[in-house]
Amino acid sequence: MPICFEPSENASLARDHYHRIAVEQMRPISRKYDDEEHALPQEWVDFYWQHGRQGAGGRLDGPGDGFVQVCMQAEELCWGDAALYLRMPTPALGGSAVMAAGTPEQRKRFLSRFREDGPPIWGAMAITEPGAGSDAAAIETTATLDGDEWVLNGTKIFCTAGEGASQREGGFVVVWATVDKSAGRAGIKSFVVPAGTPGMSLVGLEKKLGIRASDTATLRFEGCRIPKENLLGSAEVKKRDPKPGGDKGFKGAMATFDASRPIVAAMAVGVGRAALDFVKEELERQGIRLRYDAPPTSLTAIERDVMEMEAELETARLLTWRAAAMMNVGKPNNLEASMAKAKAGLAVTLITQKAVELLGPLGYSKKLLVEKWMRDAKINDIYEGTQQINQLIVARRILDYSSSLLR
């Protein structure tokens, strides 16, 4: 698509639609579910399940902005409340994994129910382990084939939406495990574990700095048996890392991130924008307007801060849209997705911290949501690949270095 920064009519409609939802449904309960950490936001879950799923309407025949539109939706809803967004009943990253590495049959089997009636359900992905950190290749959870079943053993931490996905009938958790430790990355496969499968237990939920309404779970797998068909991709272990798009195992699982990082980056942008919008509104209330025509020497410190926040947020947003737009035309976006994620995570961390600073005692008080946005924003520097991991990916790409040469 030629260079253009005006969204399609459908995308605009969707953006307005989700912004209304953010204003009317999310903001009013934002503080409540931050205080009541881990409590299920029933009214929000029900609302989303009943009204949020069918999308924004608009002219179905008209062109849309595809993945960019998805990013806009994420930005608007996270402008509302990032934690509530993460608590929505959706396949989430589990769905992305099934889409990226699963067969058509598997997609139908695990995802179709998210479009059907019945009680709300959740999907999730479980990768990180107590010992492993961001080192996916160091996964110690094992999957052993026993007859027609895979048997999973191990512990997963930092599993977003892990309670809903593992405990609520109908949901599922995509679990990364190794079928052959000696094969390293090549031995790592992902498996779909339906909610309530015996042997999968919820150990606990993380008490966190922010996104407290989100259920970040620790899951234990002890002789957890799932049908053979729940393996995503092939069981075959290619000792030498296969080409991208070849094996759907580790690479396939990693490909999930190329698809999810722009969305995660867009979520970050939403939180950052919430803080920036509030600061600008406060300045208006104070009768302070930003003078884009003033020379640097006559700017106030606040004017310059806010202008820099605007530039930084817009930079993060455009890098995000670019990575998403590449998916629209089927271009590999591994580099661009990590650029967007790295920039967005850092930018909104600084923007929200700056917002609290500029508002002084008001920003520090829990009477406003600004302090919450600062706490929520920081997760974007950390999850779905930390700042450092994404810098590493970017560095490898621009230097054309393998993960063994640069780590």
Binding site: Q286, Y364, T386, Q388
Partner: protein, 374 residues
């Protein structure tokens, strides 16, 4: 400075070593912080409470009392330098607890500096006594652009009384019969007034903030609070609020160095223990250099604080040094704590570890003013 007297050379020479006396105090306070404060830090932050017994035990160290004038039972050892050293160590243990422990100075020091003989006689002996008596100083106002030098809270004469009207926030409010100092504008200048906690017209609302959750703080609504003429500190000239602000910035900056140091040490130790890709993450330059920068900035910020404290002890105008040190600490502490959370990664984002609390506390320096004094 007085504390230095024993060992100080006749002629000045630039130096960076605390005196033996100061080193001894630091050692004692550090041990106390490590044994009594650090273990309670998380629990107090979560429960938003401070055990009274802790404050009493801390009081026995006499950190505030030792600085009060001997005529009123104090130790006469007032030194901004020593005060800064103590503040850093306590805050290294925990910021909320440190501010609570040092809170008596919020009332006692201004009274000692600007109070009338009567005010000193009434209040100082209590603060120099055996029991912990909380202090409170209301300088910050809950509005955009809050300015300690130009409060919107007003003080007007009415007959022989002063009538105070306005709002304050971030006022420490520990249990106990402590006296409260409120800043108010009296024809153009900021002045300090003694107000009883139970004064008629004084509305008290508990606050919740991003950080320092363990320290009980309140928002005050002064709805024409009437105080006696004598309640005004500093006689004719009034209290020198600029010096109170400067002493507050030095004290707070010192605590900020302590907070940053605490976060840095946790990150450093975690990075050495935590393995990834077969080696401690501390062996990765991205982590190691981040830690190195933290260490450099923390040491540098401490020296700025020391210089401002030294200036105070010299008796000169220390506002510039205090402000520069405070602004630097505000930057350094935030970066160090954010960096510590980053080094711990997912764990840093959880409340299983302390850095997320340090980050919330460190951001407070953008709102604090005179929450501690030297």
């Amino acid at each position: 400075e007085r504390a230095d007297a024993a060992t100080a050379p006749e002629l000045p020479v630039i130096g960076f070593e605390p005196t033996e006396e100061q080193a001894l105090v630091v050692e004692t306070v550090r041990a106390f912080a490590e044994k009594e404060l650090r273990p309670l830090a998380r629990e107090c932050d979560e429960s938003r409470r401070i055990p009274r017994a802790l404050l009493e035990r801390a009081h026995e160290l006499g950190l505030v009392a030792n600085a009060l004038p001997p005529e009123f039972g104090g130790g006469g050892e007032r030194s901004a330098q020593t005060g800064a050293l103590v503040a850093e160590e306590l805050a290294w243990g925990d910021l909320s607890l440190a501010l609570a422990i040092l809170s008596p100075a919020l009332t006692a020091f201004p009274v000692a500096d600007f109070g009338s003989e009567a005010q000193k006689r009434e209040l100082l002996p209590r603060y120099a006594g055996d029991a912990f008596v909380p202090g409170a100083l209301a300088l910050v106002e809950p509005r955009f652009g809050a300015d300690p030098f130009r409060p919107e809270t007003t003080a007007r004469r009415d007959g022989k009384d002063w009538v105070l009207a306005g709002r304050k926030c971030l006022v420490p409010w520990l249990e106990g019969d402590g006296a409260l100092l409120v800043s108010a504008r009296e024809n153009g200048a900021a002045r300090l007034f003694l107000v009883r906690r139970d004064a008629r017209g004084l509305g008290v609302t508990p606050e919740r903030n991003l950080g320092i959750q363990a320290l009980p703080t309140v928002e005050l609504a002064l709805d024409d609070v009437r105080v006696a003429e004598a309640a005004r500190l500093g006689g004719e000239r009034g209290a020198d609020v600029a010096s109170v602000v400067a002493r507050g910035r030095v004290a707070l900056a010192a605590t900020g160095v302590g907070v940053a140091r605490a976060a840095f040490e946790i990150a450093r130790d975690y990075a050495k223990e935590r393995h990834a890709f077969g080696a401690p993450i501390a062996t990765k330059q991205a982590i190691a250099f981040k830690l190195a920068d933290m260490a450099i900035e923390i040491d540098g910020a401490r020296l700025l604080v020391w210089k401002a404290a030294w200036r105070l002890d010299q008796g000169g105008d220390a506002l510039r040094d205090a402000t520069l040190a405070y602004q630097q600490v505000r930057r350094v502490a935030l970066q160090a704590c954010d960096g510590a959370v980053q080094v711990l990664g997912g764990h840093g984002y959880t409340r299983e570890y302390l850095p997320e609390m340090h980050l919330r506390n460190a951001r407070g320096y953008a709102a604090f003013e005179a929450l501690a004094l030297v």
